[in-house]
Structure formats: structure tokens, C-alpha cells
């Protein structure tokens, strides 16, 4: 695969993620209403449906708390990954790995 193919494939994936998927950019732009569950825009302070106060944290903060994410581009990576498959950043070790190394 040529450099052009790789670049455009990656670019297309990012557009598709923004359109349908749950890439970091989509998640960073959404806040979930704790009362009714509606997805609101990140800069909203009140839910557009029920008017309840929205939390400070976005959907991405919740996602980060549940997944290991790349510090470079923000996508979720597996626990065993050493490099990010999306942007190639070297990933910091997980807590589990550190514990193993200490033992």
C-alpha cells in the first residue's frame, strides 16, 4: 500500500468515525444528560430535552476511565499494545505491566 493510500484510508476512517462511530472527536463533543440520557453538545450546560444540569465531563472522559487510550491521538488501544496502531505513538505502560515488572 502506498503512502497516499495509507494517508487517505486513515483520513476516510476519521470521517467515518465522526459520522457514525465513536472516535475521540465525536465523544469529546457530547455530554450525556444524567436525568434523561439524551446526548447534548459539549458546550451546553442544560439538557435541550429536559433542562437538567449537565455534568462538566464529556462522554470522552467516561470512555477514558473505562479504556486504555493513546496519549497522542486518544483512540482506545488494547492492554497489550506497545505502540498506537492509529498514530504510532509509544504507549505508556499500564499499571498491570508495572506490577508484573516489579514482581
Amino acid at each position: 500500500m502506498t503512502e497516499y493510500d495509507l494517508r487517505t484510508k486513515k483520513a476516510l476512517r476519521r470521517v467515518a468515525l465522526l459520522e457514525y462511530g465513536f472516535g475521540p472527536e465525536t465523544l469529546q463533543g457530547r455530554k450525556i444528560c444524567p436525568a434523561c440520557g439524551r446526548a447534548n453538545r459539549a458546550h451546553d450546560t442544560r439538557c435541550t430535552d429536559c433542562g437538567a444540569a449537565l455534568p462538566e465531563t464529556t462522554l470522552y472522559d467516561f470512555y477514558r476511565s473505562r479504556h486504555r487510550c493513546c496519549p497522542g491521538c486518544g483512540v482506545a488501544v488494547t492492554d497489550v499494545a506497545v505502540y498506537c496502531p492509529e498514530c504510532g505513538t509509544r504507549l505508556p505502560r499500564t499499571r498491570g505491566e508495572k506490577r508484573e515488572a516489579a514482581v
Binding site: 487517505t8 476516510l12 470521517v15 459520522e19
Partner: protein, 169 residues
């Protein structure tokens, strides 16, 4: 005279040989025909309707007809069998520009889909497409896109001329 004579022959006779070729591929063949007629009435370009919506057909026709500008319409209605969403249209744009890098691609999207805006903005940012318009395409916007295309064509012509000059001893 044949009924199927090529449209650009008449245009060239009027001294409009350097006008950009604008290909339109809308959601349905009827809409494509209407868009091509509208472009013809607008002037400043040589219109071309691409009736088939298939990616390879669009690419083939753009290359064969040497299109300088491609207008693609998206369709966000859920009932459509084949997808004409932003990512699918970007796919077509990428393929067209792989074969014909000088072709500029613009998306025309229906209004009332704010959730598509981040994807559209990203597609422009990543240079998959050159621009997009939401709602019924206005003559002003189309003229701006035609002007951009003509400018890009002029730049390329000058570059090629300079290259040719450089090659001459």
C-alpha cells in the same frame, strides 16, 4: 445533425474552450439532469451529468471526460439502499482525485442534519474534498466554486508552461 452531438463542440465554437468541465452526480438521475441543466444556464463552465452513482462509474467518467470539478450530492435518508453519506462520497472523491488529482470535489448536502457537520468539516480539513454546501445550492456559491476551479486550472497551466520552458535548451 445528430441529436446526440457533444455539447462542448458548441461551447468551443463560441470561444469557451478554457472553461472548467463541471460534472454533477446527484442522488437520482433526474436530479443530476436538473443540476446539469442548471449549471448550463448558470454559465462559466461546461456541464456534465453523471447519471450512474456507482463509485467506479463516477471515477471512470470523470477521467474519460477530464472533469475539472465534481459536484456530489449526499443523501442522508435512511431508506436508500446504497449509501450516499459523507464517508461514501469522500470515498468517491478520493478515488476521483487519485486518478485525476487536478479535479476539485464539492459536496452538496441537504439541510437539517447538524450531526453530519463534524464529518463534513473533517473531510475538508483532511483535504478529502474541497468544500461543501448545506441546503439548496445557490448560484453565488456555485460561481465561487467555478472561479476557484478556473484559478486552479490557470495555476496548473502556468506550472506546466514553466516546466516546458525549463526543459527547452
Amino acid at each position: 445533425m445528430s441529436l446526440f452531438r457533444k455539447r462542448e463542440a458548441a461551447a468551443q465554437m463560441e470561444g469557451e474552450g478554457n472553461l472548467p468541465k463541471a460534472a454533477a452526480c446527484f442522488a437520482t438521475p433526474a436530479r443530476t439532469r436538473r443540476a446539469a441543466d442548471w449549471l448550463g444556464e448558470l454559465g462559466g463552465c461546461k456541464p456534465l451529468g453523471i447519471l450512474s452513482d456507482d463509485c467506479s462509474d463516477v471515477v471512470w467518467q470523470c477521467v474519460a471526460e477530464k472533469a475539472d470539478l465534481l459536484l456530489l450530492e449526499t443523501d442522508f435518508s435512511t431508506g436508500t439502499e446504497d449509501t450516499k453519506d459523507v464517508s461514501a462520497r469522500c470515498d468517491v472523491a478520493v478515488e476521483v482525485r487519485r486518478q485525476r488529482p487536478e479535479c476539485r470535489v464539492y459536496l452538496v448536502c441537504a439541510a437539517g442534519h447538524p450531526e453530519k457537520l463534524p464529518a463534513l468539516d473533517k473531510a475538508v480539513e483532511l483535504k478529502l474534498i474541497h468544500g461543501y454546501f448545506i441546503g439548496d445550492l445557490t448560484a453565488r456559491q456555485m460561481r465561487a466554486w467555478i472561479a476557484e476551479t478556473s484559478e486552479a486550472m490557470g495555476r496548473q497551466e502556468r506550472r506546466q508552461r514553466d516546466l516546458r520552458k525549463g526543459e527547452q535548451p
